[in-house]
C-alpha cells in the first residue's frame, strides 16, 4: 500500500531545508529561473536541470540555460516534455545508497506534467519501505495575452493515473479550468460524461485571471451537465486536494471519474495526487501544440510537501 500526505508549507522552510536531490526545468518562460534564483545551491546535494528539447531556442531559454550553468553549475539535460525515463534513471542514480527518508525538491513552475508525475511515481513504486518527502515549488506568473486558441495535440491519461476504465455507475468529469475554454469543451464532448464538476483557481494569481477564466469557460460552466463550480485557492494545494476528494466522494467507488486539469499547475498537481490516491480516478493530460508565450513571475510562491510511503508491492495484494 502507498500512502500520500499533502501539506501546504512555507517557502522559508524550503529555503532552510537540506535536499538530497532537486529537479529544475529550463524552458522559454522567464519565470522558470525565479525559484532557483532564490535558493542556496549549498542546500541541495544533487541538483538536476532538465531542458526541453521542444522550442530549444525560444523566448528566454538561452538566458535560462546560462543561469543554470552559472549559478548551479548544471548544464540542462535535454529532455522532451513527452518523455520521463531519464528522470527515473537520475533519481535511481542519486538516491540508491541512502537509508534515511529522502528529501526531494521539485520546482514544477515550467515543467511538463509528465516529469513531476514521474517523481511521484518513482516515490510510489521504486522506493519501497522508505519515506520520500517531496517539496513541490511553483512560482505564480503573469501571462502574455493568449492570442491563439489551443489546438489539442493529444489526450492521454498521465502514467500512474489511469483509473479503472470499466464503470458500473455514471461517468463523472471534473474539469480544472484555465484560459482555453474551447479546448475544455472539446474534451468534454469526447469524454461524454453525464455529470460534470468544474473548479478554478480563486483566489488565483490575480483577480483579473479569475474573471478571465470564468469568461473563457462560460459555456462549460453554464452547461446543463455542470453541477457545481468550485473556487479553490491557487496558493493551497492541500485545500484543493481536500475539496476535490470531497467532491468525488459520492461517486466513488463505482463511478468512472476523470479529472481534466486545464488550469494552473498547482491544481494539476492536486488532480494528479487525487488520481494517485484513488485507483478508480483517472487524470487526463490534454496537451496542445507549442505556443511559446512568456510568463513572468509575480513573486508569489506555492509550496507543497507530499510525503509518500510505499510499504509493500501492491501488485501482490489480493483484491
Amino acid at each position: 500500500m502507498t500512502s500520500l500526505q499533502v501539506l501546504d508549507i512555507d517557502f522559508e522552510s524550503v529555503c532552510e531545508n537540506q535536499y538530497d536531490v532537486s529537479l529544475f526545468a529550463s524552458g522559454y518562460e522567464s519565470r522558470c529561473i525565479y525559484v532557483p534564483g532564490l535558493l542556496n545551491p549549498r542546500m541541495i546535494d544533487n541538483p538536476l536541470v532538465f531542458g526541453f528539447t521542444e522550442e530549444p531556442y525560444s523566448g528566454n531559454r538561452p538566458k535560462n540555460d546560462v543561469f543554470y550553468c552559472e549559478k548551479w553549475g548544471c548544464k540542462p539535460i535535454p529532455l522532451s516534455g513527452d518523455n520521463e525515463q531519464p528522470i527515473y534513471d537520475h533519481l535511481r542514480e542519486h538516491t540508491q545508497t541512502q537509508d534515511s527518508p529522502l528529501h526531494i525538491l521539485v520546482d514544477y513552475t515550467s515543467m511538463s506534467r509528465l516529469w513531476y508525475a514521474a517523481v511521484l511515481n518513482w516515490a510510489r513504486f521504486a522506493v519501497l519501505g522508505r519515506e520520500v518527502i517531496i517539496d513541490f515549488i511553483y512560482a505564480m506568473g503573469r501571462y502574455e495575452e493568449v492570442k491563439r486558441p489551443m489546438v489539442i495535440k493529444d489526450m492521454v491519461t498521465i502514467p500512474g493515473c489511469e483509473g479503472r476504465a470499466y464503470r458500473l455507475r455514471e461517468s463523472v468529469a471534473v474539469f480544472g479550468l484555465g484560459f482555453h475554454g474551447l479546448a475544455s469543451l472539446c474534451v468534454l464532448d469526447r469524454l461524454e460524461a453525464d455529470t460534470v464538476y468544474a473548479f478554478l483557481a480563486s483566489p488565483g494569481s490575480s483577480q483579473e485571471y479569475v474573471e478571465k477564466t470564468e469568461k473563457t469557460n462560460e459555456d462549460l460552466i453554464n452547461n446543463y451537465k455542470t453541477k457545481t463550480l468550485l473556487k479553490l485557492p491557487l496558493a493551497s494545494i492541500e485545500a484543493c486536494y481536500r475539496h476535490l476528494a470531497e467532491t468525488i466522494a459520492p461517486h466513488r467507488p463505482d463511478g468512472e471519474i476523470t479529472l481534466v486539469p486545464m488550469g494552473p499547475k498547482p491544481q494539476v498537481l492536486a488532480s494528479i495526487l487525487i488520481a494517485m490516491r484513488f485507483p478508480e480516478v483517472a487524470c487526463l493530460r490534454v496537451s496542445g501544440a507549442p505556443d511559446p508565450l512568456d510568463v513572468t513571475p509575480t513573486g508569489d510562491i506555492v509550496a507543497t510537501r507530499v510525503i509518500v510511503r510505499a510499504e509493500t508491492n501492491i501488485c501482490s495484494c489480493p483484491s
Binding site: 513527452d82 518513482w122 479503472r164 455514471e170 469526447r190 508491492n313
Partner: protein, 623 residues
C-alpha cells in the same frame, strides 16, 4: 419498468448520449432503425456514423440484456425471436477515450509490446463485458431464482479457473469476479509503470493477469463455451461482440481486429462502430486484405431510411417522423409531471420558412412583391408564365417561398431586433441533420429558454407554442455557433477545419444573400480527384463530426465517397451562416477557393445583382 415511479425519472433532454442512459431509459426511448436490424445477423460489420448518430445506442441495444428488455417490454417480434430462440447473444464492449488513454500513454513500448498490451487489455475488457451478459442469459434461460443463483455460482467457479490463474482468490458470484478483473487491469497498468520507474521488476515477480496474455479473444471464447454448456445454449446461436467507439483506437489496433475477422470462421461475429473514414485500414496481420462485401460489410448509419422518413401524409421529409417520435419518447420517459405528452409541434410551433402551406400568390400579394424584389429575372419570368397553373406550386412557390422569407427577415434586421425565423418544430428537427444527439441538444437548448410562467402554461396546456420564435432562434443560433467554434481545438486540424467550414459557409451566405434568389440555393460542394490532400483530409474529418454530409446515392448507401462526390453543409450550421436548411445545388470546391482569393471588388462583381450591390463580410463576421 412500466411502473417506474416518476420521482426517479431523469430529464432525458439533458442526456444526449446513449452511454449515459440506464438500460430502462435506453430501451424505452430507442427507435429501432434499419441499421439495427441489419446488425442482427451472422456477419462482421463495421458501422459508420458521425458523432452523435446513435452508434452507441445501436451497439448497446444489441447486447443481450438490452435486447431481452426490448423483447419483453415492446412489441418487437424480431427481438422476441432473437431472445426466445437463442438466435443472437450480443456483448457490448466500449473502447472509450479513458480506456484507450491507458494504452497510448505507454509511449515507451515498442510495436510488439504495444500490440501485446492491446491484446491483453482487449482480452480482459471482453471478459469484463461478457459478465453482465452471462447474468442476463442466466436470467433469461434458467427458471427460478434458486436455480439461477446456483448456475451463477457454478459459472463463476468455472470462469475463475480459466481467467484467474493466480492462487489465493475465491469468488462467490459474477460481480466479485468482475471487480477482480477490473482490479487486475489496474494492477497491470501499475506493474508496467513500476517496471519502468524501478528499472525492472523484483526477481520472481510474475506478470499480472497471465490468463489474458494469450491469443486475442481466447479467454472470451472460453467463457462463451462455459456458459453455453451450462445453459445448453443452442449450437446455432450467433455471438455478437459489439466494439464501440473504435475511432479512438489506432491503425494497428484495427489491423489486429481485422485479422480476427478474416481468420476465425466460428460463431463469434464483430460489430465495430466508428466514425466515417475512421476504419483506418483494411490490412490484416495474416498477409491478406479484408474485402468489403466478402469478409465484412459496412453499415452507413447516416443513410438509414428510418432516420430520414417523412411523416405520413406530409409532402417532404423536413420534420422527420423519427424526430417527432424521439421528442415524444423523451417527454414520456422524462420527469415531466403534469406535461401530458405534447407533441413537438405543440411545444415549438410551426416553422414559417419550412412548413408546406398554400400561400397567397396573387398579383398584389406580399409573396409576389417579395418575388419581384428578390428573385432573378429568369425566375420572375418563369413564375409569370406558370402562375395560375398547378406547376407554379411545384416548380416555383414551394421551392422559393422559404428563401424569400429568409432574405426579407435578414434584410429587415436592424439594431436590437431579434430574428425569429429559425424556430418551430420542423426547423429544430431539420437543423439536427437527423443526428439524434444534436436533436436532443437542440430540444434541450430550446426548452431551457422556457420561463417558469411558460412552464406553468405548458403544464396546464393553456396554449400552444409556449416558447417564442425569438427565443427559439436565439437558442438555435447559439448552438449553431457553438457547434462551429468547438472545431477550433480539434486535434491536428482544428484551425484549418474551422477556416475551411467558414469558407464554405461564407460563400453560401454570399451567394444566398447577395445574388438574386432562384428556386435552387447553393448548399453543397463538389470535389473530384483533383482535390488536394489537405482539403480531402478536412472533408473527411468534417464528415466524421457531422459538419458535412456526403450526398449518397440509393444504389450503394453504405459506401462512403472517396476523393469525389457532393457534400452538403450540415443544416446545424444554417442558423449561424443564415442559410436556408434545404438541400440545394452544389458548386465546385475550386470555385469557392477562387472566390475567397478575390479582391472585394472582384467579389462584388462575381455576386453582381440586378437590384443592388453590397460588400461582403466587411465586418469579418456574419451574425
Amino acid at each position: 419498468m412500466e411502473n417506474e415511479p416518476t420521482k426517479h425519472r431523469r430529464n432525458l433532454f439533458e442526456i444526449d448520449n446513449a452511454r449515459n442512459l440506464s438500460m430502462q431509459e435506453l430501451v424505452r426511448t430507442f427507435i429501432p432503425t434499419q441499421s439495427f436490424w441489419r446488425l442482427l445477423s451472422a456477419k462482421h460489420h463495421v458501422v459508420l456514423g458521425a458523432r452523435g448518430q446513435g452508434k452507441t445506442a445501436l451497439a448497446k441495444m444489441l447486447s443481450h440484456d438490452h435486447l431481452a428488455l426490448l423483447a419483453k417490454t415492446r412489441d418487437e417480434p424480431r427481438a422476441k425471436s432473437a431472445i426466445r430462440d437463442q438466435e443472437f447473444i450480443g456483448i457490448y464492449l466500449p473502447t472509450r477515450l479513458e480506456w484507450v488513454g491507458g494504452l497510448r500513454n505507454k509511449f515507451w513500448l515498442d510495436e510488439r509490446e504495444r500490440e501485446e498490451l492491446f491484446q491483453w487489455r482487449l482480452n480482459i475488457a471482453s471478459c469484463i463485458a461478457f459478465i453482465p451478459i452471462a447474468s442476463s442469459c442466466i436470467q433469461a434461460y434458467i427458471e427460478g431464482k434458486a436455480k439461477q443463483a446456483q448456475t451463477e455460482r457454478e459459472l463463476t467457479s468455472q470462469l475463475s479457473k480459466y481467467w484467474v490463474v493466480e492462487s489465493g482468490f475465491h469468488f462467490d458470484d459474477l460481480l466479485q469476479l468482475r471487480r477482480h478483473l477490473e482490479n487486475t487491469d489496474y494492477l497491470k497498468q501499475i506493474q508496467l509503470l513500476r517496471e519502468r520507474s524501478a528499472g525492472g521488476l523484483p526477481p520472481g515477480e510474475m506478470p499480472v493477469g497471465l490468463a489474458f496474455g494469450i491469443d486475442l479473444f481466447a479467454p472470451l471464447r472460453q467463457g462463451i463455451r462455459q456458459l453455453s454448456n451450462l445453459l445448453s445454449i443452442k449450437p446455432s446461436c450467433t455471438w455478437l461482440l459489439c466494439i464501440d467507439e473504435a475511432e479512438f483506437l489506432d491503425e494497428m489496433d484495427h489491423r489486429i481486429i481485422n485479422s480476427h475477422m478474416r481468420a476465425y470462421p466460428d460463431n463469434l461475429f464483430f460489430k465495430l462502430t466508428t466514425m466515417p473514414y475512421c476504419h483506418y485500414t483494411l490490412a490484416t496481420n495474416i498477409g491478406s486484405v479484408l474485402v468489403n462485401g466478402h469478409d465484412f460489410e459496412y453499415v452507413n448509419m447516416d443513410s438509414d431510411r428510418v432516420l430520414t422518413a417523412r411523416v405520413p401524409g406530409e409532402t417532404d421529409s423536413i420534420g422527420t417522423a423519427f424526430g417527432r417520435t424521439l421528442f415524444k419518447k423523451l417527454i414520456e420517459v422524462s420527469d415531466a409531471r403534469g406535461w401530458g405528452v405534447p407533441t413537438v409541434v405543440e411545444v415549438l410551433g410551426e416553422t414559417e420558412i419550412l412548413d408546406p402551406r398554400r400561400e397567397a400568390w396573387g398579383a398584389e400579394s406580399e409573396n409576389m412583391t417579395l418575388l419581384k424584389k428578390y428573385a432573378s429575372s429568369e425566375t420572375i419570368a418563369r413564375a409569370n408564365r406558370l402562375i395560375g397553373t398547378h406547376r407554379f406550386r411545384d416548380e416555383i412557390s414551394r421551392k422559393i417561398h422559404g428563401a424569400l422569407l429568409l432574405r426579407k427577415a435578414v434584410d429587415e434586421l436592424k439594431g436590437n431586433m431579434a430574428l425569429t425565423i429559425y424556430s418551430g418544430a420542423r426547423m429544430a428537427i431539420r437543423c439536427s441533420d437527423d443526428n439524434p444527439r444534436h436533436m436532443i441538444r437542440i430540444f434541450n437548448a430550446i426548452l431551457m429558454a422556457l420561463t417558469s410562467d411558460q412552464k406553468r402554461q405548458m403544464r396546464m396546456r393553456l396554449k400552444k407554442s409556449w416558447i417564442s420564435s425569438a427565443d427559439q432562434t436565439r437558442a438555435m443560433q447559439r448552438l449553431s455557433a457553438s457547434t462551429l467554434n468547438q472545431v477550433m481545438p480539434f486535434p491536428d486540424v482544428g484551425p484549418e477545419l474551422h477556416a475551411f467550414i467558414c469558407k464554405l459557409g461564407k460563400y453560401m451566405h454570399a451567394d444566398f444573400h447577395n445574388k438574386p434568389v432562384t428556386t435552387d440555393q447553393v448548399t453543397s460542394v463538389t470535389i473530384d480527384d483533383s482535390v488536394s490532400e489537405k482539403d480531402w483530409k478536412l472533408i473527411r474529418v468534417a464528415v466524421g463530426h457531422g459538419l458535412l454530409y456526403p450526398n449518397i446515392g440509393t444504389g450503394n448507401p453504405d459506401e462512403m465517397p472517396w476523393r469525389e462526390g457532393t457534400f452538403h453543409l450540415a443544416y446545424a450550421l444554417a442558423p449561424y451562416f443564415l442559410l436556408l436548411p434545404r438541400r440545394g445545388k452544389a458548386v465546385k470546391l475550386a470555385t469557392i477557393h477562387r472566390f475567397h482569393e478575390m479582391s472585394q471588388k472582384e467579389k462584388d462583381e462575381a455576386m453582381k445583382s440586378e437590384y443592388k450591390q453590397v460588400s461582403l463580410f466587411d465586418d469579418g463576421d456574419i451574425t
